[in-house]
């Protein structure tokens, strides 16, 4: 590892965080859709949804958090694309810095921005009556899973950020990610779905993650589901980092 890696990453992270501080609209646009969905599903549709015995907002929040992150990470693709477009990406590349630092700074920025978004959404949910008896360890486990999930999706977002030839192309990949929670246990139990849909829903990553978060919030045993969730996140992370690295090396050679 380059001896300047940590220092360079810190400097570039400071730069990107300043971007966020100066245009907080990236946080606002990230949280507005999940909050609207919370309101819509809890106060409009929720009354007609049969999802367990507790209050619907308790059932809903884990899926909403996944949607928040899935929409938040597309800004990483956007920021990377803008850097490439403006030429500052090449300036960094021609400087004596650790090359990986350029990507890591964007990834860590995404982590910070998504963490802020998640906290905002959780606060709104609390105001709407979300309650959890989860202890410190449970909350830490929730945070850990969300961090891992954010890292995996952000590295996925790095790929179009490096490869896209238009700004629309750079952010369009996030739409299927935002849609994935709808065909999962995020809004309604999978048991209510017809055969093939149910098979898909029960075997895609969002369901295992959402179920694990829900179990942690409601102090239920997480069972083996947590390992499935962690395996999905870790697997996705490894694949995304590998492809992002390949794309990056192709870009800079």
């Amino acid at each position: 590892m380059n001896k300047h890696f940590l220092g360079d990453t810190a400097v570039l992270l400071g730069r990107s965080l300043r971007h966020i501080a100066r245009s907080p609209d990236t946080i606002i646009t990230t949280v507005i859709t999940p909050i609207a969905m919370l309101l819509l599903f809890v106060y409009v549709l929720g009354g007609a949804i049969q999802a367990g015995t507790g209050s619907y907002v308790n059932y809903l929040l884990p899926g909403i958090l996944i949607i928040t992150i899935a929409s938040g990470i597309s800004y990483t693709a956007y920021r990377l694309f803008t850097d490439r477009q403006g030429g500052i990406f090449e300036r960094f590349q021609s400087m004596p810095i650790a090359r990986a630092a350029v990507l890591w700074a964007h990834v860590l920025t995404s982590l910070v921005a998504n963490l802020i978004s998640v906290v905002v959404v959780v606060l709104v949910a609390l105001a709407m009556g979300f309650r959890s008896g989860a202890g410190v360890l449970d909350w830490l486990a929730v945070a850990g899973i969300l961090v891992l999930f954010t890292l995996a999706l952000t590295w996925l977002a790095v790929i179009p950020g490096l490869a896209a030839s238009s700004v629309d192309g750079a952010s369009a990949f996030a739409y299927p990610l935002i849609f994935l929670p709808f065909i999962s246990s995020a809004f309604v139990p999978t048991a209510s779905m017809p055969g093939p849909v149910r098979a898909f829903a029960e075997n895609q990553p969002v369901t295992s993650i959402v179920n694990t978060l829900r179990a942690l919030f409601t102090e239920q045993p997480v069972g083996t589901g947590i390992w499935t969730a962690l395996a999905w996140c870790a697997g996705l992370l490894v694949v995304a980092v590998t492809f992002a690295g390949t794309t990056y090396r192709r870009r800079v050679s």
Binding site: R18, R22, S94, M95, P96
Partner: protein, 264 residues
């Protein structure tokens, strides 16, 4: 066809060359952009690379600044091979690309401190303030770059390239899209640099720019350097000038600059 005027032997490195290129080739798919470029640039000189759009100027600069790998041939900058010693090359150079590579959301001063920190220098703040003064940007230093004019951006861009005093600076079409005044400002900045001992390789499509600034001029045409010499040497390639008496008309540039200059 003009004769090749490389004064140095084609195989050996010229004495004191800080940029040394031999037989450099690069293709994009079927399109051969560089077809064996040979060039040497002496330390502390301003070297202008002329060529029309698509002649391969930017490709050559990108290879020399380690952003692109050549398909064949050799290139050394400051004694380091651009492929095997890329990190050392990056330590020795600064690149100012065709489009001002500045961060729009940061202020001018923050852009400068950012580069100073990335070059691992202490006292990033004082370095930034000195450069702001030198490029007449002190008043604008606290403003976001998004509010800057094209000329101010270019000046900031060049100021960012000077941080850390790299011995070699690449300026890729530094005055494209600038108004005449901003152009003169860039020219004087380039001349100052060379006076301080920095080697400047600049690409341009403006012949007067090369004529005004460069110690040596090379013309890149269809992927090869077809001529390389001083302005006087280049002029001798054509038949001697005939003496004619012509009334000297001011150029539009003279008119523009004198009018605008008076109002300042």
């Amino acid at each position: 066809m003009l004769p090749c005027m490389n004064t140095s032997p084609a195989t050996d490195r010229a004495e004191g060359a800080v940029i040394h290129v031999r037989g450099l080739e690069k293709s994009y798919k079927e399109l051969k952009v560089l077809r064996g470029v040979d060039v040497d640039v002496a330390r502390g000189s301003i070297f202008a690379l002329l060529g029309s759009n698509g002649a391969g100027k930017t490709t050559l600069v990108r290879i020399l600044s380690t952003l692109l790998k050549a398909d064949g041939g050799r290139a050394e900058v400051n004694g380091f091979d651009v492929t095997t010693r890329a990190a050392d090359v990056r330590e020795s150079i600064s690149l100012t690309g065709q489009f001002a590579a500045v961060d729009e959301i940061l202020t001018g001063r923050e852009n400068l401190t950012l580069v100073a920190r990335l070059r691992h220098l202490k006292d990033a703040g004082p370095i930034a303030d000195r450069l702001l003064r030198r490029f007449s940007l002190t008043d604008a230093g606290g403003r976001r770059v998004a509010t800057y004019s094209g000329g101010m951006r270019r000046r900031l861009d060049i100021a960012m390239s000077l941080i850390g005093d790299p011995p070699v600076i690449f300026l890729d079409e530094p005055t494209t899209g600038l108004d005449p005044e901003a152009r003169l400002e860039v020219w004087s900045a380039v001349q100052e640099l060379a006076a301080g001992g920095t080697t400047v390789l600049l690409t341009t499509q403006y012949l007067d720019e090369a004529e005004h600034l460069a110690d040596r001029i090379a013309i890149l045409h269809e992927g090869r350097i077809i001529v390389n010499g001083t302005l006087a040497e280049l002029k001798r390639l054509l038949p001697p000038a005939k003496v004619e008496y012509v009334e000297k008309q001011p150029t539009l540039e003279d008119v523009f600059l004198s009018l605008v200059g008076e109002q300042r």
